[in-house]
């Protein structure tokens, strides 16, 4: 991806088809002479032994995709973790701290009690018939579990559900969407998926028919998108967020990139917008969202709205508004605007990454296309039922008057305020570091500071065969045990360097992490000063 992005950005004016199409690694075809001979030999001699599934004979689209999350830094981090277990004295730190992925519960965040009570009761409904349950579970969690179990066909979480997800749960989610937006949701628009990622894969699979189908993606963006597009053999069409103005999204930039793609023979099908942004943390203003919607309508694009961080907002200057709500407020009804909105149980204040719960809300699509989507979903039968239930709880949490409401809000508010403080702590700390700039984290779970790396560092990186920010992150890891991801995995303006870190560790831990990073940074900049 890095190579592809740099090729695109360095030569935008000379748009040719080659820029957007991933150059796929060459693989031997079976009509090459050696392989024809192999088949020929089989019939007359015993064939050469060669495994059919080698690196050169697997699907080239698989080879072409990157996974920053599973890249060299993480691999090394895991190795260092092993060393800590066997020879801890070999390393200058006593703990590897994974700040690379927003996995709240692995960094100590506790799950929301009410949600887990309901899930436990649904998993083992025998409990609901026992008197002792009232001593262990809150009354309203028992009521909610009973009501959910009654509404599931077969009254079991162990059965395959409808391929879109259990009706009653989709109804609850649609209702939650209605309460959130002031415009009622439709349960037939909801597809419950194993995490939002599954939904993204399905949409890419649906839309991409050839390497001439392009998807506009923000730079920087979550590597899920580049990987998913590459897996389907499509073309990623990048558009740049503006770092100097708080990672803002300029519709003129969208227009420019779209025109260049068109000139290169790429048919752009959709626009991906992440709100709040990942890894950039910006929250879009309503006016900006209106411009984006008009742009999509004018240019005949499907809007893919990644809204999984909608409950992670840390600024009181802006608030989250769903694209759906904006579109409806503009007077665009169900049929007037093509939109797929993604949500998940992995983020927010609930942080239930391991449950793999999520949904995509599909509005404005042709009903025959929705049928095809449904058919594709049905091949996998259904998403995991626990994740479905959890998603419905997230969209329909305890309300005023419910027994668990007080405890629920206390837990929620503690987590959100801790995240808020963490985000500010991080930004303040990074702003103090020489050569580092960091935008305010308005939302999301990451920050994406930029570092002006000195030339000596760039040279050292090159001689080590790495990108400069990978070199920085590697050194950071080796010195402090802190795992971050280099900006080159997310895309960035060429010549700039960033790294991504989560804001998740607890305040206490965070103070320690930031102090070690500051220390390392000072030494690094000193060592490589010009």
């Amino acid at each position: 991806m890095r190579r592809a992005l740099q090729a695109i950005t360095s030569n935008l004016a000379a748009s040719t088809g080659q820029l957007y199409r991933r150059r796929l690694p060459s693989v031997p075809r079976t009509d090459t002479l050696p392989e024809r001979l192999l088949i020929h030999r089989y019939f007359f001699f015993s064939a050469e032994r060669s495994p059919p599934i080698t690196i050169s004979t697997i699907n080239p689209k698989v080879l072409s995709c990157d996974s920053a999350v599973h890249g060299e830094i993480v691999t090394r981090a895991k190795r260092l973790q092993q060393i800590l277990l066997t020879k801890p004295s070999d390393l200058p730190f006593s703990e590897v701290i994974f700040c690379n992925v927003d996995d709240p519960q692995s960094l100590g965040q506790q799950p929301i009690t009410f949600f887990r009570e309901v899930l436990a009761l649904c998993d083992h409904p025998e409990l609901l018939d026992k008197g002792e349950v009232h001593g262990l579970f809150s009354l309203d969690s028992i009521t909610r579990a009973k009501s959910i179990m009654k509404s599931i066909p077969g009254r079991t979480v162990g059965g395959y559900s409808d391929s879109k997800g259990i009706r009653s749960l989709r109804a609850a989610i649609a209702e939650g969407i209605g309460i959130r937006d002031g415009f009622s949701g439709n349960m037939e628009d909801i597809f419950l998926t194993d995490g939002a990622s599954s939904g993204v894969h399905m949409m890419m699979r649906l839309m991409i028919t050839s390497d001439r189908d392009g998807i506009l993606c923000p730079i920087p963006h979550d590597p899920l998108y580049s990987a998913s597009i590459a897996l389907q053999g499509g073309a990623l069409v990048p558009y740049y967020l503006n770092e100097s103005t708080g990672w803002s999204l300029d519709v003129n930039e969208l227009r420019l990139r779209l025109e260049a793609a068109f000139a290169a023979g790429i048919h752009v099908r959709a626009l991906v917008v992440s709100n709040p942004g990942n890894p950039t943390g910006q929250v879009l203003a309503d006016q900006n969202q209106r411009e984006i919607i008009e742009f999509c309508r004018d240019e005949h694009l499907l809007l893919l709205a990644d809204e999984v961080y909608q409950e992670n907002i840390y600024t009181n200057k802006k608030y989250f508004t769903s694209f759906r709500k904006i579109a409806r407020s503009m007077g665009y009804g169900e049929d007037d605007f093509n939109l797929v909105s993604f949500h998940s149980v992995s983020k927010g204040y609930y942080g239930e990454c391991g449950m793999r719960g999520g949904y995509m809300e599909v509005t404005g699509l042709d009903s025959r296309v929705k049928q095809q989507l449904y058919k594709m979903a049905s091949v996998n039968l259904c998403s995991n039922v626990t994740g479905q239930i959890l998603m419905s709880l997230v969209m329909n949490p305890p309300r005023v008057g419910d027994g668990s409401y007080a405890h629920f809000t206390e837990e929620r508010d503690n987590i959100l305020s801790s995240l808020d403080q963490g985000s500010k702590m991080c930004v303040d700390a990074f702003k103090k570091m020489k050569g580092v700039t960091c935008n305010e984290v308005e939302g999301g779970l990451y920050l994406f500071p930029s570092i002006k790396l000195p030339n000596a560092a760039l040279t050292a990186a090159r001689s080590n065969g790495m990108e400069a920010d990978t070199f920085y992150c590697r050194k950071l890891l080796d010195t402090t045990g802190i795992v971050t991801l280099p900006g080159s995995g997310f895309g960035q303006v060429p010549g700039t360097w960033h790294f991504r870190m989560t804001i998740l560790p607890s305040q206490q831990k965070m103070a320690e992490i930031l102090s070690r990073i500051a220390d390392f940074h000072m030494k690094f900049m000193n060592e490589y000063r010009n």
């Binding site: 599934i53 058919k375 091949v379």
Partner: protein, 482 residues
């Protein structure tokens, strides 16, 4: 500007349009419509035991509840509701995670669970496994999709599939843009494997320029239920070795065995038993799940695959693709662990676990017989015994008038029959055309899952319908069923 659809049927992925997944296709959609209208439907279209009243095993659900709500473990009253071994197991599984069920795991799944799978495989087969070659997945289906996605490059890549097959394979091959190369199971010989046919199909495919990359076999079979013998498996392995073909062993029904002549033998065991050169050269991927067996935990989406003799770089690529989706769902992973490492004879929960699992299996065996006998008692129906898995796949002889009526209605004859069956009785089956069948034959697939109490009535309703259908299209004669 008039609103227009960005995506229309003309500009979306052709492969999606072409694929058919009959298990949730036309019949199921019609059944769901009728259900909404208030008709009582008996869904026998998919192997979904809990939805038809099978109870979950108690121990895993106790462990799961404790893992979901770890605060219970610390509560002084916990032993009023949970046995000590469930509490201990929940603590153990939570210790495997980096933060409970809500934290992402390794993209291949929690190492502790993968080790449990290895221990199980060693015990089952007598051969060690490498936990890094075990991938836990959101159900076995996702694992199958990952493998097919990595193997198939284009339409020239062929995947051998048994006919009849479970349409996950045909649908996924279509989705990833490959070619299905059929090999026919022999219905007259109890759905037996025919190596000669296999050889012919491969040769024919190659003549058409198809690279035959992999062979799928389902043991016990779906929808056919046959259990492969050791010599069947050896023949398959030797064949794949000679032809340089990767083996995809769908073994999800390994716990569902209803005869004693051919107990389950894993492809891995037979492969290792064969020794060199096979044991080091034949590429094999074996799939398992928590959805079937006597577990039937379909909704959890838990499964795994084991890689044998796969090129290490290809393994890396599989890991990379798995990592894009971050991790399989953790509760499903824990169900896999519980399945491969159930209560042992000295555990508190063992007697209950044994009683529950035995009673399910014995009941399934009885239902396999009831259903097979029921179908065979109809003059126009022959049905091989369900030796394993969860299905019955009877062959229905349809009179020419029925075939003509079907054609007039624009439907395949077995689809026509199944729709009529559904409308008359509420029994929702899947027509044989959804699985593949020999030209000119008609089948339907039903599950053996309706409860034992309901079975006689279900068979009665079916026979009554069959009599009426045959009378209508063949003319009055002796009743078709006895």
């Amino acid at each position: 500007m008039a609103p227009t659809k960005v995506l229309d049927p003309e500009n979306i992925n052709e492969n999606i349009k072409n694929l058919v997944y009959a298990v949730r296709g036309e019949l199921y959609i019609r059944a769901s419509e009728l259900q909404k209208e208030g008709k009582k439907i008996i869904f026998t279209n998919v192997g979904n035991p809990h939805a038809l009243g099978q109870k979950p095993l108690t121990f895993p659900r106790q462990v799961m509840a404790l893992c979901q709500a770890p605060f219970l473990i610390d509560d002084p009253n916990v032993d009023l509701l949970f046995p000590a071994d469930a509490i201990a197991r929940a603590k153990l599984y939570l210790s495997y995670t980096s933060g409970g069920l809500g934290a992402y795991s390794d993209s291949r799944g929690l190492p502790g669970i993968r080790q449990e799978v290895c221990d199980f495989l060693l015990q089952r087969d007598g051969y060690p496994s490498d936990p890094d070659l075990i991938f836990l997945t959101d159900g076995a289906s996702k694992g199958v999709m990952q493998l097919l996605n990595i193997i198939v490059r284009d339409k020239k890549d062929g995947i051998l599939c048994p006919i009849p097959q479970y349409p996950l394979y045909s649908a996924t091959i279509e989705l990833v843009g490959g070619t299905l190369v059929p090999y026919y199971l022999n219905e007259e010989n109890n759905w037996g494997l025919d190596i000669k046919d296999l050889r012919q199909q491969v040769a024919a495919a190659r003549n058409k320029g198809i690279n035959v990359r992999a062979l799928v076999f389902i043991n016990p079979g779906n929808p056919t239920g046959q259990c492969l013998s050791e010599s069947n498996l050896r023949d398959l392995i030797e064949f794949c070795h000679n032809e340089n073909i990767l083996m995809l062993a769908d073994e999800v029904y390994q716990q569902n065995i209803y005869q004693d002549e051919r107990p389950f033998l894993s492809a891995k065991k037979v492969l290792m038993d064969l020794g060199l050169p096979y044991s080091k050269e034949v590429e094999l991927v074996s799939f398992h799940t928590v959805s079937k067996g006597y577990w039937g935990e379909c909704g959890q989406r838990g499964g795994y695959f084991e890689l044998t003799n796969i090129h290490p770089k290809a393994v890396d690529e599989l890991y990379k693709v798995a990592s894009i989706s971050l991790s399989p769902n953790v509760p499903g992973q824990i169900f896999v662990g519980l399945m491969v490492n159930p209560p042992k004879p000295n555990d508190i929960s063992y007697p209950r676990y044994l009683q529950e699992s035995k009673s399910i299996l014995e009941s399934l065996r009885r239902r396999a017989h009831i259903m097979t006998d029921g179908f065979n008692s109809c003059r126009n129906i022959t049905c091989n015994f369900t030796e394993g898995a969860m299905y019955s796949f009877p062959k229905v002889k349809l009179p020419p008038a029925a075939v003509a009526a079907a054609k007039a209605a624009g439907k395949a004859p077995d689809v026509f029959y199944c729709i009529k069956l559904l409308e008359a009785t509420g029994i929702s089956t899947v027509p044989g055309s959804g699985f593949g069948q020999k030209e000119g034959t008609f089948h339907l697939r039903t599950t053996i899952l309706p409860s034992e109490e309901d079975m006689p009535e279900v068979m009665q309703m079916f026979k009554k319908f069959n009599d009426e259908f045959m009378s209508a299209y063949e003319g009055p004669s002796e009743p078709f069923s006895r």
